[in-house]
Symmetry: C2
Subunit: 385 residues, 2 copies
DNA sequence: CTGAAAGCGCTAACAA
DNA sequence: TTGTTAGCGCTTTCAG
């Protein structure tokens, strides 16, 4: 093995351990030890090697290293979402931010994979299955998407964002690690808050029902009505997507058919902002005529006027937790899958102030403990339940 | 959950060409030919191999392949930005969307790399220089960041988003490929539009000046004033960042010191939305008292009321173009660097309607050819007035 | 059209 | 502490 080639012609640096070794007057193995911070190298040798590395601007070839170590030192974030939502909704940004933060200490690179069609999703699954990454965080699988399960079956460490379908039953064994938020409880608190403010005809524009979060928030809405002694009314439940335009359309229809509503719970803040726009355009006063509560506490909640009351979910923290779980799973592939459920927090702003004619309730912000709904934030370790 | 080592062998599928070859009764070379769609394989052999691949669920090891081919078949998107902006601003989402779309046909994976600190940026540069990806699109390098240049020197194909510093002079030779938008012209058109609407004390909250887009939009603002015969007034220029909170603070200060302003040009829509909030909170009527124009045509522009007049930039198309340029450069590394500058388009909405008391000028929106500035928008419902 | 053989650049035993 | 020796799984001449 002489390696006669590798002259100065290649465009991209093709400097190898061999070159460094020769220059430093040591063997390839020693160079490798220095690069991998092995303690079994004498200080002077180390210095000589480091100098050679510096001078040659040597960087190890990741493919060769991965071939040997069977690790890529990178993990994937898989986003399964339509174009629309991806760029309407800051949810993904925040989650990414949290994930990226949770990985900052580790020597791991983040690989973002986006699939907007079945074909793309297949290619992406192959990519992951091939071992191109050491693990993956999967965001937004819909309905009966079996991709996460298949990857788990192949032995790939996986963490899913949001309770996967099939994990619906409270006591059912979970075979996938996932991170979720108390969607149902959050929605319940939102509606309880509206009812406490004197609202009686509370509608909802809910999210897609093939997403657990969509279903759970709708359930919470119903819980809230029931708890307040209000009757459920199918005409007040309107289907939506986590897309402003869809929510706006649903709201217009709702308003036309049920002009008497006095409150709306929207399944996301961007939806709530759209709802607000429709109401204002229709000449309704918010919150005097109609109150609004959203979900997320995204930046748009404070961009609009009146600012939106909303159910905050700790998205960044959730991202961080996903990263943590994944790294743990990579380190110990035999460990049991874990799930972490984060609490929500009702953030009261102007869009849900009690209706003026109502009795003098506490009109200022902050939570009303009497509702039993407001979960004080922090406290991430809400695992299991 | 048991899952005790589900297979006879390693946790992760370690099926190799060898296994496939044996099963199909051929040599490794032949399997490789089938996998790489070489024409030099007989149909029956091909079928046999494909069958074996299917049965064994074989996927090639990317590291081994990359080691041999010296290509990773993946490209990076490098985002150099603070947490704040990253999740306040849909700009990145749209750009990513365009990039991802531009890559859809190619057999290439997208690798997203985020750096929020110098340390992270260094690690990331090493990652790219190592040849972990075949090329990179770099978004948001500030001031005198030499990272793109260093990568180019190493022979890595690079495309930058936004004119890099050092490419300021119109006639200067460009040594880096980049995609940009006509920031200066767009800003000029915005101000011209405000002036045409009868505004006389037009302020600006501009972007960061260590970003070419920040500088260019400020220059355009000044151009617009000059063209309208309005005097430049340093007191009307307020520094900002592409962050709503920063813009809001700047606006509050401005309003306190110069309560007589009748228009504001903000360097981005999210900034403009924040400006709008401050003005409404201060009891100003928009657009009657103060008109607002933003930049981007991001979703928030139509979320707020009044909807924002804005300078649209074709972000998705820019992303697509970046991907195209990069792939071309990867295919032909010797080719000259290219740059593509996209036009902007003024989109007139409610926030900039002409002031009511003004003389009966042309009150409707749309362009004033004399200004040569306004590209008629495709008129989303609500243009004009 | 197919197989044999030679590495790609690296790490990881095993010696020395 | 350091060097020697084997490959990791794949593609790719070069024979047959």
């Amino acid at each position: 093995m002489t390696t006669i080639r590798r002259s100065s012609r290649d465009a991209i640096s093709s400097i190898t351990v061999e070159d460094v070794a020769r220059r430093a007057g040591v063997s390839r193995a020693t160079v490798s030890r220095v690069v991998n911070a092995s303690p079994r190298v004498s200080p002077e040798t180390r210095r000589a090697v480091e100098k050679a590395i510096e001078e040659l601007r040597y960087v190890p070839n990741p493919a060769a290293r991965a071939l040997m170590t069977r690790r890529s030192d990178s993990v994937a974030v898989v986003i399964l979402e339509s174009a629309n939502r991806l760029f309407e909704d800051p949810y993904f940004n925040q989650l990414l931010l949290g994930i990226s933060g949770g990985l900052a200490d580790q020597e791991v690179q983040l690989v973002l994979l986006i699939a907007q069609s079945g074909r793309e999703e297949e290619r992406l699954e192959r990519y992951i299955a091939a071992g191109h990454v050491d693990g993956a965080m999967i965001i937004g699988p819909r309905g009966n998407d079996e991709m996460p399960r298949r990857l788990v079956d192949r032995g790939v460490p996986i963490v899913v964002n949001g309770r996967p379908s099939g994990h619906d039953l409270p006591g059912s064994p979970h075979t996938l690690s996932y991170v979720d938020v108390e969607n149902r409880e959050g929605a319940r608190a939102a509606v309880a808050h509206l009812a406490a403010g004197g609202r009686r005809r509370i509608a909802t524009i809910h999210g897609p029902l093939d997403l657990p979060s969509g279903r759970d928030r709708l359930s919470g809405y119903r819980d809230g009505l029931a708890a307040a002694g209000l009757e459920a009314d199918p005409g007040l439940e309107r289907p939506g997507e986590y897309i402003p335009a869809v929510a706006a359309e649903a709201m217009r229809t709702l308003l036309a058919q049920r002009p008497d509503i006095d409150a709306v719970f929207a399944a996301s803040d961007s939806m709530a902002a759209a709802v607000l726009g429709v109401l204002l355009d229709a000449g309704r006063r918010v919150p005097d005529d109609v109150a609004i509560v959203g979900f997320d506490d995204s930046p748009v909640a404070t961009s609009v006027r009146p600012a939106l009351t909303t159910v905050r979910q700790p998205i960044v923290a959730m991202g961080r937790e996903m990263a943590r779980l994944l790294m743990r799973q990579i380190a110990d592939p035999e460990g049991a899958p874990s799930r972490v459920i984060f609490p929500t927090e009702l953030v009261v702003r102007d869009s849900s102030a009690p209706r003026p004619p109502a009795a003098a309730g506490p009109a200022t912000a902050s939570h009303s403990p009497s509702l039993g709904a407001v979960t004080p934030a922090s406290t991430p370790p809400g695992a299991g339940r």
